[in-house]
């Protein structure tokens, strides 16, 4: 019933706002998550989760979000609609970790943004928190790294780079959770270099070496097409 209602709401929303939600996939385009998968992505926009839903919404995806979203009616409704798991920064979150691990063990898909905050620069990365590795190791889940570069203008395509799936033995070779998290982050950072047109904002450009503006610009566009 909820799935039907969600489909109806998303359908109505897209009917009026579709020019804002066009996207282009790069990388591992043929891949479809088959369960026990943790989708890990960067976080440039509040709509990142919606793009993941558009990408793989045929399967049930649980999105990790902070509990503060329950404070307002609209965000509470949206998170209810999209099967969110709530994380509380001020508590130990034992139940949250248990819940994520059990969903993954039962063949579910969980989407998490390990930076924990939205990067308003729309360029670069915050450090990835290590808890997603803890969840993945506990559930023996695969990790699907995805880089999202949103475009807020209508008729412009958001870029989604779908990376290669990381099996438990790939990230499991790092015993330290921090090192494993950096390994996954490093993969997503590399994908960001492949989609092109992810230009640094002006205030950052000012302190970059002169060759940066050339290498980060539209030259990368051709490389992105596979």
């Amino acid at each position: 019933m909820k799935k039907l209602f969600r489909g109806l709401v998303v359908g109505l929303f897209l009917l009026f706002a579709w020019p804002f939600f066009l996207y282009k996939r790069y990388g591992n385009r043929a891949y479809r998550p088959d369960g026990n998968t943790l989708i890990v992505s960067n976080h440039y926009s509040t709509l990142d989760a919606f793009f993941i839903y558009l990408l793989y919404g045929r399967r049930r995806i649980y999105f990790v979000t902070i509990i503060n979203v329950k404070e307002k009616c609209l965000s509470r409704f949206v998170t209810w609609l999209f099967d969110c798991l709530y994380l509380d920064y001020e508590k130990t979150n034992f139940n949250f970790f248990k819940q994520c691990a059990s969903i993954l063990k039962e063949g579910g898909i969980v989407c998490i943004y390990p930076e924990g905050e939205i990067n308003l620069l729309k360029f670069g990365f915050f450090e990835f928190k290590r808890s997603f590795i803890f969840i993945a190791k506990r559930a023996g889940a695969k990790i699907l790294p995805v880089f999202i570069y949103p475009d807020y203008m209508p008729f412009r395509r958001t870029k989604l780079y779908i990376g290669d799936v990381l099996l438990p033995e790939d990230y499991g070779k790092y015993e330290d959770l921090g090192e494993a998290a950096t390994f996954v982050q490093s993969k997503i950072m590399e994908y960001s270099l492949l989609v092109g047109k992810t230009k640094p904002p002006l205030e950052v450009t000012a302190m970059l070496p002169p060759e940066l503006t050339e290498s980060m610009g539209e030259k990368n566009d051709k490389k992105a097409e596979r």
């Binding site: 307002k72 390994f183 940066l212």
Partner: protein, 59 residues
């Protein structure tokens, strides 16, 4: 071809993170410090924090 990105990291965690990224093939080009206002999901919660902006290069 050299390609660059930026990592924003809290000063306390910087050296460990840089070492880990160096093991993955990333090199530090330069860094600067700034204050960030963090907007949590849907802009419901804002916090300020000091951050190092580290420019990294991958060849």
């Amino acid at each position: 071809m050299q390609q660059y990105t930026i990592l924003q990291v809290r000063p306390a965690d910087a050296s460990k993170k840089i070492n880990e990224l160096a093991a993955q093939g990333w090199k530090v080009v330069s860094s600067s410090e700034s204050t960030w206002v963090f907007s949590k999901c849907f802009g419901l919660s804002n916090t300020r924090d000091s951050m190092l902006n580290i420019i990294l290069v991958k060849e």
